[in-house]
Amino acid sequence: MKARMQMSSSVVKQEFFKKWIKGMQIYSAFNKEMTIMERKRAIKLSADVAIASTRSATTQWSRAVVADVSTSAAGAARAAAEEILGRKLPERKALATTCSKKIVRRSHQRRSKAAARGVVRSSAAIAKKLVRNRTRVLKRLVPGGKKLDEISLIKETLDYIACLQVQVDVMRHLAAAAESLDHQQISF
């Protein structure tokens, strides 16, 4: 992985903020009167694509976020994402995940059969199993994590968490600003 991890976080924050705003403005252009739920979706999707875009496809998780948007977004969402990324998204493809789900289900059944046999495990084996289970959970939480080996998963996780922190930080600041405005108006 490149040295982008060392990049100043305020630079990343600015880049994220600009792209996030751009995305939200595209939504507004499509629909002047959004419901609260629609606006929430606009805010969230713009934020997610914007933070992924600050990594410009150098990480698996950011690529997975963009791929997910490519397959599921349409209309305003798609336009906002394309504006943020600065390029057209590939054509929407049908998801090919049903096959892999079956495989995961089968391997899960295999594991519980071992437990059903009453196999007694040593504490080391139990610890190993716990780590394996937690790793599986982590794979689900980090976008694109399912296809990664353990080393890559942890590297991706480090980057992903750093970016999530930036995203939350900027969103908090905007919420605080909007909130203080709200209070000012009430006092008048």
Binding site: A127, V131, L141, K155, L158, I161, V168, Q185
Partner: protein, 91 residues
């Protein structure tokens, strides 16, 4: 190994426990509150992974809550005041 689907190609070197422990300790620095004094490496790896998953879940929830909060705030701001116009123009 025949007949078994392996996750890695045969060219990838085996991941050592030390490498995992090293990376997991890097995860440590991101986690806001984990006081780990256990000696056992597997136990600490488990704890760190658990805290990491919880932390990511919390961050996800915060993004969701903030999106909802912002949506409410931005829709209730009166568009007439000049300061509000600036914020409103953002979305």
């Amino acid at each position: 190994m025949s007949g078994r689907r392996s996750r890695q190609s045969s060219n990838t070197p085996r991941i050592t426990d030390d490498q995992i422990i090293d990376l997991v300790s890097k995860l440590h620095q991101f986690l806001p509150e984990i006081r780990n004094t256990r000696r056992s490496n597997k136990a600490s790896a488990n704890k760190v992974l658990q805290e990491t998953c919880n932390y990511i879940r919390n961050l996800h929830k915060e993004v969701d809550d903030l999106s909802e909060r912002l949506s409410q705030l931005l829709s209730s701001i009166d568009a007439d005041s000049p300061e509000a116009a600036i914020i409103r123009s953002l979305i």
